[in-house]
C-alpha cells in the first residue's frame, strides 16, 4: 500500500499544503483531519496544524482535545520546544497535531512566525497540512505563509463556490497553486438537476479537482467520536479521502463523476441525448 513511502522518505523537506475555502462550514477541518489520517495510513509522516487561532477544532475532530499542553502560538513565540507542542494521534503513530491556541486572537502571530514554525517541522514530516480559518483576513494569510500548494474545499453551492473563487484568486496572486475538493456532493440531486455537477464546478472555477466527497452521515458520527472518517472504509467519505491522499502521493486515480463520466451517460451522449 505504501510503496511510495520509501521514495518519499528520502525527501529532505516536507510538503506544506494549506487547506482553505473562504467560506466557513464547508469541511476544511474534516478534510485536514481525514487527509492527514489517510496519508499517515499510507506510511507518510504527517503533521496537521490548526491555524484557526481562537477557534480551534482540529483537536476535537482528531479526538486529542484532552492532551493539549502547548500550541502553535507557544512554538511561534519560542515558549516551548517544537517537539513539546505536537501531539501524537491515538490511531496512528505517523500522525501528529500542532493545535491552535484557544485564548489568543488571529493576529497574535504574523506570517514570518508561521514560516518559522513550519521550518521547525519540515524536516521531520513528509506532509504538513495547515487547516486555515474561514475568511480572507490575517488568519488566512498566516495559514498560507510558507505553503507549497493549497487545497481549496468547496461544496456545490453558489455561496461556497463564490468564496472559493475569491480564495483561488488570492492564492494565485501569492503564487500558490490550488487544487479543489468538492465536498458534500449528492449525486442523486445532481442527476435531478438540483445540484451543480463536478463538471459544472470545474467549468466555473477552472482549477484542477483533486477529489470529490459525497455527503455522508458517517462524517458526523466520526466527528462525534473523534476518529477521522478514513478509519471507516465502509462509509462513502472514508474511501473518498483515501483516494485523495493517493492522488496527493501521485497515483493517477480518476475522479468519479456520476454526472458526466459514467458509461451510461457516455452512451446517451453518443445517442445525442443531452445528459
Amino acid at each position: 500500500m505504501n510503496t511510495r513511502s520509501n521514495s518519499a522518505g528520502k525527501k529532505e523537506l516536507g510538503e506544506v499544503i494549506v487547506i482553505t475555502s473562504g467560506k466557513g462550514g464547508v469541511g476544511k477541518t474534516t478534510t485536514t483531519a481525514s487527509l492527514g489520517a489517510a496519508l499517515a495510513l499510507r506510511g507518510q509522516r504527517v503533521l496537521v496544524i490548526d491555524a484557526d487561532i481562537g477557534l480551534r477544532n482540529l483537536d476535537v475532530i482528531l479526538g486529542l482535545e484532552n492532551r493539549i499542553v502547548f500550541n502553535l502560538v507557544d512554538v511561534a513565540k519560542k515558549l516551548c520546544k517544537p517537539g513539546q507542542a505536537i501531539i501524537k494521534s491515538k490511531k496512528s503513530p505517523n500522525l501528529f497535531l500542532l493545535p491552535a491556541s484557544q485564548t489568543d486572537d488571529k493576529d497574535v502571530v504574523d506570517e514570518a512566525e508561521v514560516r518559522f514554525v513550519l521550518d521547525q517541522f519540515r524536516r521531520e514530516f513528509h506532509y504538513i497540512l495547515v487547516d486555515s480559518p474561514a475568511g480572507i483576513e490575517q488568519g488566512f494569510r498566516n495559514a498560507c505563509a510558507g505553503a507549497d500548494s493549497a487545497i481549496v474545499v468547496t461544496t456545490p453551492e453558489v455561496s461556497a463556490i463564490r468564496d472559493a473563487d475569491r480564495v483561488v484568486g488570492l492564492l494565485s496572486s501569492k503564487g500558490i497553486e490550488a487544487r479543489l475538493i468538492i465536498n458534500r456532493i449528492d449525486f442523486e440531486m445532481v442527476r435531478r438537476g438540483d445540484m451543480l455537477s463536478v463538471k459544472d464546478v470545474q467549468d466555473i472555477l477552472g482549477i484542477e479537482i483533486i477529489g470529490v466527497v459525497e455527503r455522508d452521515e458517517d462524517i458526523i458520527k466520526a466527528a462525534n467520536v473523534g476518529e477521522p472518517v478514513v478509519y471507516n472504509q465502509k462509509s462513502k467519505a472514508g474511501p473518498a479521502f483515501t483516494r485523495i491522499a493517493s492522488r496527493l502521493c501521485g497515483e493517477p486515480i480518476p475522479i468519479p463523476s456520476f454526472d458526466g463520466g459514467s458509461l451510461w451517460s457516455r452512451i446517451t451522449r453518443k445517442l445525442g441525448v443531452n445528459a
Binding site: E157, V158, R162, R192, D194, I204, G206, V273, N274
Partner: protein, 117 residues
C-alpha cells in the same frame, strides 16, 4: 439517466442548478473584474451598442463571461448574431462612431432589434 431522456423528450426542465449557474456567472464576473453593478451594466450596454452598429443581435442571448484558467484570464463576449446590417448602414454607423462631432442622434441604428429575424 432517465432524467436525461425525459429532458430530451419533454424539453428543458426547471432545473434549479441552471439558475445557480447563471447567478454564479453574474457574481463571479463582478468579483473577478472588480466592477460594480452599475459599471458592469454600463459596460454591457456599451458593448451591445457597438455590436449593434454592425449586426442585428439577439440581446437576450448576449452574455459576458470572465473566464479564468490556470494562468490566463479571458473576457468572453457571446453575442448571437441574427443578421448582418446592410453595408451602407454599417458604413454610416462606422462613420458616425469615428466622427469627432458630439452625440450624433441620427445614428442609423434602429432601436428595436428583436423584430428582425
Amino acid at each position: 439517466m432517465f432524467s436525461a431522456l425525459k429532458k430530451k423528450l419533454f424539453g428543458e426542465s426547471n432545473e434549479s442548478k441552471e439558475t445557480a449557474k447563471s447567478r454564479l456567472h453574474f457574481v463571479l464576473v463582478q468579483d473577478r473584474t472588480g466592477l460594480t453593478n452599475e459599471e458592469m451594466a454600463g459596460f454591457r450596454e456599451e458593448m451591445v451598442k457597438v455590436i449593434e452598429r454592425y449586426f442585428v443581435i439577439d440581446k437576450e442571448g448576449f452574455d459576458i463571461k470572465y473566464h479564468r484558467l490556470a494562468d490566463t484570464t479571458t473576457l468572453l463576449i457571446n453575442s448571437p448574431v441574427i443578421v448582418r446590417r446592410s453595408s451602407t448602414a454599417a458604413a454610416a454607423a462606422a462613420r458616425a462612431a469615428t466622427s469627432q462631432e458630439p452625440a450624433n442622434t441620427e445614428t442609423p441604428t434602429p432601436e428595436p432589434v428583436a423584430s428582425n429575424v
